[in-house]
Symmetry: D2
Subunit: 347 residues, 4 copies
């Protein structure tokens, strides 16, 4: 069940065919969910987003990055900023194992002789240590390989899946979410791992849903207020953007986040990545068709689309997530759909 | 008339005594409004914000900066970023005369032997060329001097005043606005010059007021859609923040802007400045009491306060602004208070 | 007389035909020198660099920026960073009149209806207040117009000319300098306004020339050590660089500066701009030929060329500058050519 | 043998007692060198720099970062930039195993209950895949633990040790190097992992040593020119710098690098970190003594010291490194001390 299945629509631009980041042609998503109760509690996983379905290793995409609040980790950024390019899948996992997944991506490339010398893949994270026994370091390179092997276009599972398995968002169960928009003659998609925020700030299309759903009706996941957590967002488009324009697009994820109620709390790693597939760089150089760019004034519909796609992706994560009990018997409750609908009707 | 006078409250933190940036002790604001119909139409002005009421020339404040969308001008930023300090008043004026006002600030300091060698004052702008005959370059150094001379604490005039005289915001008459919050044991204030946005995006406490007020009821200021314009925001606090923390605070202006409906259109110069008066730097060095800082985890209430103060400052600008006819007979209509209240009641 | 006229060669790449930034096709330079003894002492001016000889207003160039030490002023940077483009001449003048020249550029564009709405020109500066009575604010819009009217290709005057008129560099008379390199199949040129540094740090091709020329032989320009001053560098290339690559190029000016002995003292505004004419953006959009880029690995010769061009441009400024007496009877002595040659021979 | 043991002195400020980063009180360095010929060739290792000898986990230091050329990896930067603090040891290793070492640092902290929730340690790298069979992924968490266990003050081994084991610098054998300076009443130290540069660019105190030592006398490590490689530099000081000042200090590593002959080739990850121990942040908050800062104008001697310390650290790495044969029988030859001295004498 997704937000629109409940009859709730946010934004003004229409979604793409599957309303997911995979509406951007060539983009594939792979999920590896690791859930176990013994020997130690696992509620974690890996999500991969492949900008060109795997060809990005040798045909990089232009990319940009924005840290709205940098209490998080992301690898690969020095070269992404320096070159304006992204030449690997993007992986999203838990905070403690960014390194494991990052080196596994390097090993993946080495094993396939994908490039000659070195690799600087992009891996980012949010913290799932409330529901997941994170100090158990559950993930291995095999989990990354499983996520890559599962990468596909079309519908994307949401909620308690992939790197988003153990998320908590606005004090409800959070997770992985995605959405897309058709705007300005192009497609803009977003995928988020939503793990941030206070309940009282949650808004859906402007309605203060979080305040409407009291703690009596739906208990908080923790005994005392905790604002920790983070949100990472990957924004993709098939528009032919230059790197500087990808950065502009990444920054608009802030708007989508703010609409839902994010303010970038101190403990939040709100890291946003954007890439554009509309230009080709086979072997790192322009092909025979050269490059082009969307004129800057024509970026406006893309900005609006990025904000809306991130907004709806977060809400899709919340709607799709299911109540989960994990580490130390803690429970994060899903946002009940009926409570959401009731709140929306009351406005 | 201000937003709260209409019975509308946004945010969760209480405002300071006068609900203005001047609630931050020591901060003063001066306004110089230039309105004339002959020989050429003038609808412009200058706003100055003095972080320490004039003493900032010799006792700088720590400061930070964020460009949400950089289609605008602001001087003084290289040194502000390099040093983390702000050692001049901040002036806000129209786009074409940033230089005039900037050099006038230098001359002001020279005339008073305020410092020995050189000055790098901060002056920023938004574009008032729809209502103001901007190519007439109305402003002179005397206008800057008048604004400085008028600087005072306490209540701040809003709407069609100072640099905000000729603004248009969400396709209603815009202008200068201010607000403040008490949070985390400190005060956070904001002053904006609001000149951005599409009407359909305007939200007040989540309610889609802009869509509710149709173009039949209140005509657009222009015959065709124009997203140009900008918003500059100055955020002040008496908390003892370090420069890096001022930057964090400045970035939260984005949240306040997004709540009202800003998305950073391509043509918008959305430039945010934050300064903190809680540390003293007489002569550019710490005084006998040294420095301190708010521990990072204690920034959260300040972040929330900054977002709320910017949000309410924009709405105050909209509420205070009055319908204005200017250059070429163009008219920008104010947001009617009754239409606003009707929209809010319907939710 | 230029460095190579003395038989001194720095770097490994050959210069272009006139060994100036104007070797980049289309680039023109205009100088306006203002020297007077009454009513107040003037030793100042304006330098303009036109990336496309004036067409840059409507056919912007891609551009990047690096602040090695930000104790200086430069306008136009928010939009340059946001868009990756530069759509105006670059003007360089004295610290106090950046605003005058900036608004004069806006007025210049307004007077010619060059664009419809607003302008954000790039103007930067160094401080000439030791030799120039800077508080007299000598320059007017007419000086900017004179510099623009004088803009031409081919040879560029150096030393005590244009914005570089009153400069002091490594405690010798400094000024305007330029140089170029042919490398990687492209041309890279640089123009500097050199006004920084301690004498003991001055090196020419590695030789500690500054230490070799004692204060007995050539007096310091001031009674006590002063490290103030600044250097601004404009780097131009005809290579088809993307904005992100222009930023990379701008950062290499640091290497040229360091070779001569700059370390970015606290009081120095070491601001570097780079632009690339190899892509066309008529009306702000790619033309029928689209865009292209130099593959990143092919940037190396351009990096080397940028470092060398900046290095030689500084040295050309020093060699061309002539002893000047100015404000308050102060004298800045030129680096004597024979002393330079003697130092070089001794190694 | 170190540079000064050969009678060569660079710079004007005196070194500290052991002329190493450990001259900054409290800073310790640990090295783990991994050299083996079977089953696969290992020429790699880990270097750790502990800003407070281990207490930095709970008493962070202020820190800053500069990427002169971002073709490299470094973790922990989003939070370092956001907070201005560094709360972990800094580890330096090979490119492929940044993740392994990063997660090992997290596990190290978890095992000691050092903090409650999450960790974002700083790990950086250079590429040793020419001499080291990097695809063998030799390192494990035990190597990181060994480096931490070995951390000590006082003399620091240089050359083919720690993360610098398999380095190549200016086409000679490179490695780990360190140096320090006493300046401005404080100590500034640097540690580099030097793995960059073309031989023809190598300069020692201005003398073109690299060109003087021909390929006939000392063969290149590879059959064709390769500019890949990188240099990472850690700059430490006991001065009470604010984060913004640490960033300034980090940027001066560029000057030290440029003096030796670095220009930031495209393939180079030239990543510079600086931290300052002079302020205390027990538990992340100022202690009873509060904070202070070096006034900005007093940064100049620290800037000079940082440049000199980096310059000499690189040269110490070159002087200490010994000829090494590694993966695929490749050999990187050390810079012969007699050839260096001969070149210096000839000037």
């Amino acid at each position: 069940v997704r937000l629109r299945d409940l009859g709730i629509v946010v934004g003004e631009h229409p979604p793409g065919p599957v309303n997911a980041i995979t509406d951007v042609p060539g983009v594939t998503v792979g999920l590896r969910t690791v859930v176990a109760d013994t020997p130690r509690v696992a509620r974690t996983g890996v999500t991969v987003v492949l900008p060109r379905g795997g060809e990005e290793w040798t045909d990089p995409v232009f990319a940009g990055y924005h840290a709205f609040n940098g209490n998080g980790e992301i690898t690969g950024i020095p070269w992404l900023l320096e070159s304006g390019t992204l030449g690997s899948p993007v992986a999203i996992t838990n905070t403690h194992q960014v390194g494991t997944i990052r080196d596994a991506l390097v090993a993946h490339a080495e094993a396939r002789d994908i490039a000659t010398d070195f690799h600087l893949p992009v891996v980012t994270e949010t913290y799932d240590g409330w529901l997941n026994d994170i100090a158990a370091f559950h993930l291995t390179a095999a989990d990354l390989e499983a996520a890559l092997a599962a990468a596909a276009g079309g519908d994307v599972a949401e909620g308690n899946v992939g790197g988003g398995t153990g998320m908590i968002c606005h004090e409800f169960k959070g997770g992985t979410g995605t959405a897309s928009r058709a705007a300005g003659g192009h497609t803009v998609g977003a995928l988020v791992q939503a793990n941030y925020g206070a309940r009282r700030h949650l808004r859906v299309d402007g309605v203060a849903v979080g305040r409407a759903v009291g703690y009596d009706a739906v208990p908080a996941p923790w005994p005392d207020r905790r604002d920790g957590g983070s949100i990472v967002a990957v924004v993709a488009t098939d528009a032919p953007l230059l790197p500087v324009q990808c950065t502009r697009l990444a920054r608009r994820a802030t708007v989508g986040l703010a609409r839902v109620g994010g303010i970038g709390h101190n403990g939040s790693g709100d890291l946003f990545l954007a890439f554009a597939t509309g230009n080709r760089l086979p072997g790192g150089a322009p092909g025979p068709d050269g490059l082009t760019m969307v004129p800057h004034p024509a970026m406006d519909p893309l900005f609006e689309a990025a904000a809306e796609a991130v907004e709806e992706a977060i809400l899709n994560a919340l709607v799709a997530a299911e109540t989960m009990t994990g580490h130390d018997g803690r429970t994060a409750h899903a946002l009940p759909h009926d409570a959401l609908l009731t709140a929306m009707e009351r406005g």
